[in-house]
């Protein structure tokens, strides 16, 4: 059983409300019984709910790395507040009387064991999994539909441009929103999101003049997407045997959700990697209609900056676990990498934490770009690709961080090349305002994780610092 601390229990909770509610149960003294087994592997108890019979909840640490929480309450949150409350009661040092393992839990443990065994057996036997059969007719039908959808989208986009953005009013926006819905019928969920983003940029109302520039960019992006998507789909419809494009992001744009097995098949995996989180934040993406938990991680063996993305659709947000900052190093046995640009999306199914050390931090410093000229070149190369990620994130080594008479924060590299740090519009929170108030250690030998964005109106490539990595650790600005 791992050592239970309140911060560990916090990290198990799906969201902050669950933490509060779990602690509330302890304070309210709702736990009628608290027991533990002789070896301490199982905590269980009864918690009074609103009904007549109390809930039976338990926390099973038979596999210390992946504890199992069970509860008889109907909550869809997992672990529920009762299981969390049970752990908080334990952390608080309330008395748990020793008792034998209850029958039902023993039965459940047995079943779980059997499942594990079966899995191992199956893996051993069926290592040659059946190749997935592709239903060619269905695929063809889908591709035709997608092509039709692209035509529909193009028609709409061109008609909008023909009339001009200035005449777009609430009624036109409604038509656009209707098209957003229609695109769903054509298996174009990626296009749906981008079209909705366009509508949002014009719908805000108050500052339309600024919105125009972004709207124009969004239109050309849609144009590029339609062109590229059409040629890609045409090629696929002619040759249904053609595999997915695992090098570019076009499939994602078309709305394909990569499955881990597919990534594995294409060899987009890395074994035994170690990841250190450099930055993490959550935001509300109205175009996706999802909350997004976004983390930037450094792969310690290669120096690549990856990102992890978790989407929490509005409708399911309450039931899904909200990701959080991660301060340890994650040891990942199998890392899946999505097709992408500089900051490809990664995922993993299992990981075990280990504390970050000074050596890890030194490693981060070593990977930072020492020449800004080269770094900027990399960034611009990615930006000029119409369908590329427009907010690349890079690790830069800082020879000095200063502020000039105009109030510009300036980052310089060893050869004296300067880069202005400023807040970029696509991040909802500013960070450069915090720079003068950071502790002195941040301005010694350090590296910065920065996000770039090109500002078309001003003709500037802006860079916003996300984190500062220095000798004593990582100072997260976001």
């Amino acid at each position: 059983m791992p050592e239970l601390t309140s911060s560990y229990v916090d990290s198990l909770a799906p969201n902050t409300a669950a933490i509060k509610n779990g602690q509330g149960l302890v304070r309210k003294k709702s736990f009628i019984q608290l027991h533990r087994t002789e070896n301490g592997e199982l905590l269980f108890g009864q918690c009074a709910g609103s009904g007549k019979t109390p809930y039976e909840c338990s926390a099973d640490f038979v596999a210390p790395d992946s504890p199992v929480f069970r509860c008889s309450c109907p909550s869809r949150q997992f672990p529920c507040k009762h299981a969390l409350g049970l752990l908080y009661a334990y952390v608080e040092g309330q008395t748990f009387t020793v008792a034998p393992v209850p029958e039902d839990i023993a039965a459940k443990r047995e079943k779980a064991e059997k499942r594990e065994e079966n899995k191992v057996k199956q893996a051993a036997e069926g290592s040659t999994a059946k190749p997935k059969k592709v239903n060619k007719a269905a695929l063809k039908k889908k591709i035709t539909a997608q092509l039709e959808g692209l035509d529909l989208l193009e028609k709409l986009v061109l008609s909008l441009i023909r009339g001009g953005l200035s005449v777009i009013d609430a009624k036109t926006l409604k038509t656009v929103q209707e098209h957003v819905k229609q695109l769903g019928n054509y298996y174009l969920s990626g296009a749906q999101i981008e079209l909705r983003r366009f509508a949002l940029q014009l719908g805000k109302g108050e500052d339309r003049e600024q919105g125009y520039t972004y709207a124009v960019q969004q239109l050309t992006r849609l144009h590029a997407f339609i062109k590229k998507g059409r040629s890609y789909l045409t090629a696929r419809s002619e040759d249904p045997e053609l595999a997915l494009d695992h090098e570019s992001t076009i499939d994602e744009w078309l709305g394909h959700a990569w499955q881990l097995t597919e990534l594995k098949d294409y060899g987009l995996t890395a074994e035994n990697t170690e990841l250190l989180q450099l930055s993490f934040y959550s935001y509300d993406d109205q175009a996706r209609q999802e909350f997004v938990d976004l983390g930037y991680w450094l792969e310690l063996s290669s120096g690549a900056v990856h990102k992890t993305l978790q989407y929490r659709p509005y409708k399911a947000a309450k039931l899904m676990r909200e990701e959080d900052s991660f301060f340890d190093v994650a040891r990942v046995p199998l890392l899946y990498k999505y097709p992408g640009d500089m900051n490809a999306r990664v995922r993993y199914e299992e990981m075990s934490p280990r504390p970050a050390t000074a050596a890890d931090l030194a490693q981060v410093q070593a990977y930072a770009h020492r020449s800004f000229a080269e770094a900027v070149k990399l960034v611009k190369n990615q930006l000029k690709n119409p369908l590329g990620d427009k907010q690349p994130v890079l690790l830069l080594h800082a020879a000095s961080i200063g502020v000039n008479g105009q109030g510009e924060y300036v980052l310089s590299d060893e050869s004296g090349v300067q880069l202005v740090l400023e807040d970029i519009p696509s991040l909802s929170q500013g960070t450069v305002g915090l720079l003068p108030y950071l502790p002195p250690v941040c301005f010694g030998k350090c590296s910065l994780l920065v996000m770039f964005e090109h500002q078309m109106d001003r003709g500037r490539l802006a860079a916003q610092p996300l984190s500062i990595i220095h000798a004593e650790g990582i100072t997260r600005l976001l």
Partner: protein, 619 residues
């Protein structure tokens, strides 16, 4: 590469997107740009391509050709790709100065989820924000640099309690270094949030920041100026400025200046306040400033003046009610300015006022007489008591003053004799007096004021789901104090007066009659009285009268079951504590009555049932 030209072209295509691509044909601005692209195109292929795009766009579309909208999209896509490679990253200003770091010592180690909850609370509106912030502050979440800007912006939160909490707790918790941050983000022309910033800057207590405050006092918005002026109180070097501000055109500024001078207490300041008081125009402002920051020497000077003006006023003509009011307005400001002052001159003035009771009462200046009575009540002197007795003889209005003054000088026994005792004959006489009923009522109220709602008692809100908060309620005097401060005969007096709450407070075991009286009250009045405090008082009385716990619990459950509370919002904490002592077997009896209750009382009873059931299981 000519970035300026590319930018210009971008402006033009942007214009076409806004106006509509159908207007592109023969667009003269694009036409004007075209030769430059053609010229540059000879050297760089990209310009050539862009030039071709422009040319195609402005050519009237022929049949079979792409639509202008497509041509515009193609051109812009290419142009944007080029522009993306031209983004400038160099600073426009001079050479930068290396950042050194600040003394804040704040880290950014709090997890994102916790920060996000606070950020949401401080950047949106809605219920529950205050609790979130309070909790976060308790857990130390605010000791994260990322929340500093939010904490400071919370000073301007529309929910004033939250803004005040930020001012008093959160922002000062960052230490004196925060004052620099606030100075850097201070906007003298702002409103309430800036006023709060000033308070925090002042509280940091760093003399070098006074200059900032002084500047704000001279040139801010009215709110900021007034607050800044108040912050300058007691600073010798700014007295001169404060004196000048007392002549400001705006009343709030003058008001702040007078208050600051009164607080500072400098000789020049007091002289100015005296002048203002004498000058009548700002008499009111000076009076309120002095009420807040009393000064003994100035009080003496004002007292002399008070006597003069009082005599003048009394001698003046009062037939015109308007004139009478004006005179009163002038005099009443003395009472305000001298609120906390006591000196021989004032002794004389108030004696004079009481001696002239009839004349002042005729003018309707009751407030003046009340103040005189109050002054004598707190004098703790034989003469004062004598004067109050005189007043009491004139009007029952002063009975309570007389009673309280007597309380300080007489023993409990003497007190009872003076007000309720005496021989049979005296009592008979008292009963026959024409204001006897009023006198008794006033006396009862005076007693109730002192005995009921006299002490704060804290209770744990154990049933409250939201957190283990404590709440206090005002309750009757404790037993020890009743025994020490009140003559036992008051109990009989209270029973005779039929004052059940007083009886409850004064009850003691072994008294003949009190138990019967209280039981009768419980059975008779309990059915009608909605007041819950009353019920809890009765049960306290029962406890004091010597009923055992079991007896009282039995009475209480019968009250619950007979539903005598008639739907209270919540059950008094004292009663709930008594209920928690119920034998576990009562759980079902209570569960049966729960549906009759609503609101908080229902929660309380549900908690009680769970509690008793859990006790049941343990035993």
């Amino acid at each position: 590469m000519s970035t300026a030209l590319l930018q210009e072209l971008h402006q033009e295509v942007r214009r076409l997107y806004i106006a509509g691509s159908d207007l592109a044909a023969e667009d003269f601005r694009l036409k004007r740009l075209l030769p430059q692209f053609e010229q540059l195109g000879e050297r760089a292929a990209v310009f050539k391509k862009l030039g071709e795009g422009v040319a195609a766009l402005i050519r009237p579309s022929a049949a079979g050709e792409d639509l202008p909208a497509v041509k515009l999209q193609d051109l812009t896509l290419l142009l944007e790709s080029v522009l993306y490679t031209q983004g400038s990253t160099v600073p426009s200003g001079d050479a930068p100065v290396q950042l050194q770091g600040s003394s804040f010592g704040l880290e950014t180690k709090i997890s994102s989820r916790k920060i996000a909850a606070v950020r949401l609370a401080l950047t949106t509106t809605g219920s529950g924000r205050y609790e979130t912030v309070l909790e976060a502050f308790k857990d130390g979440v605010f000791q994260d640099l990322r929340l500093l800007p939010l904490a400071v912006s919370a000073l301007g939160d529309p929910y004033a309690e939250l803004a005040d909490f930020a001012m008093n707790k959160i922002v000062p918790s960052y230490g004196p270094a925060v004052a620099d941050y606030l100075v850097g983000h201070f906007n003298p022309a702002g409103g309430k949030s800036e006023v709060r910033k000033l308070h925090v800057i002042k509280a940091a207590g760093r003399p070098e920041l006074l200059e900032v405050i002084f500047k704000a006092a001279g040139s801010g918005s009215d709110d900021v100026r007034a607050a800044a002026i108040l912050c300058l109180a007691g600073q010798q070097e700014y007295v001169q400025a404060l004196l000048e501000w007392t002549a400001d055109k705006k009343k709030p500024i003058r008001e702040a200046a007078y208050t600051a001078l009164a607080e500072g207490g400098s000789a020049e300041g007091l002289e100015r306040l005296y002048e203002a008081f004498a000058g009548k125009k700002d008499r009111e402002l000076a009076a309120f400033a002095l009420a807040k920051w009393p000064s003994a020497p100035l009080g003496e000077r004002l007292s002399v003046k008070f006597m003069e003006e009082l005599k003048e006023a009394l001698a003046a003509d009062h037939k015109d009610s308007k004139k009478n009011d004006t005179l009163w307005n002038v005099i009443s400001l003395y009472l305000i300015a001298l609120t906390d002052i006591r000196n021989p001159q004032l002794d004389e003035i108030f004696r004079y006022i009481i001696e002239e009771y009839d004349r002042f009462a005729a003018l309707g200046w009751l407030h003046l007489l009340d103040r005189a009575a109050q002054y004598e009540e707190t004098a703790q002197s034989e003469q004062g008591l004598e004067l109050l007795r005189e007043l009491d003889n004139k009007s029952v209005r002063y009975l309570s003053y007389y009673f309280r003054a007597a309380q300080q000088l007489l023993t409990t026994k003497e007190l009872y004799n003076e007000f309720a005792g005496g021989s049979m004959l005296d009592k008979m006489k008292a009963r026959l007096a024409k204001d006897a009923a009023t006198r008794n009522r006033v006396l009862q109220e005076t007693l109730e004021e002192q005995i009921l709602n006299a002490e704060r008692v804290f209770y744990e809100l154990s049933w409250d789901y939201a957190g283990s908060r404590q709440q206090y309620v005002w309750e009757m005097l404790s037993l020890d104090r009743i025994a020490a401060e009140w003559d036992p005969r008051w109990l009989d007096w209270a029973i005779e007066r039929d004052a059940p709450e007083l009886v409850s407070a004064l009850a003691r075991p072994g008294h003949s009659g009190v138990q019967e009286y209280l039981l009768a009250k419980l059975n008779r009045e309990g059915k009608h009285r909605k007041d819950l405090d009353f019920m809890s008082s009765l049960f306290k009385g029962l406890e004091r009268a010597g009923f055992t716990d079991t007896e009282r619990q039995e009475l209480l459950i019968s009250v619950l079951e007979q539903h005598k509370f008639s739907n209270p919002y919540s059950i008094h904490f004292y009663l709930l504590e008594l209920m928690l002592g119920f034998p576990p077997s009562y759980a079902e009896r209570i569960a049966a009555v729960v549906p009759k209750y609503r609101y908080e009382s229902k929660n309380q009873l549900e908690y009680l049932v769970t509690y008793l059931r859990s006790k049941q299981q343990v035993t």
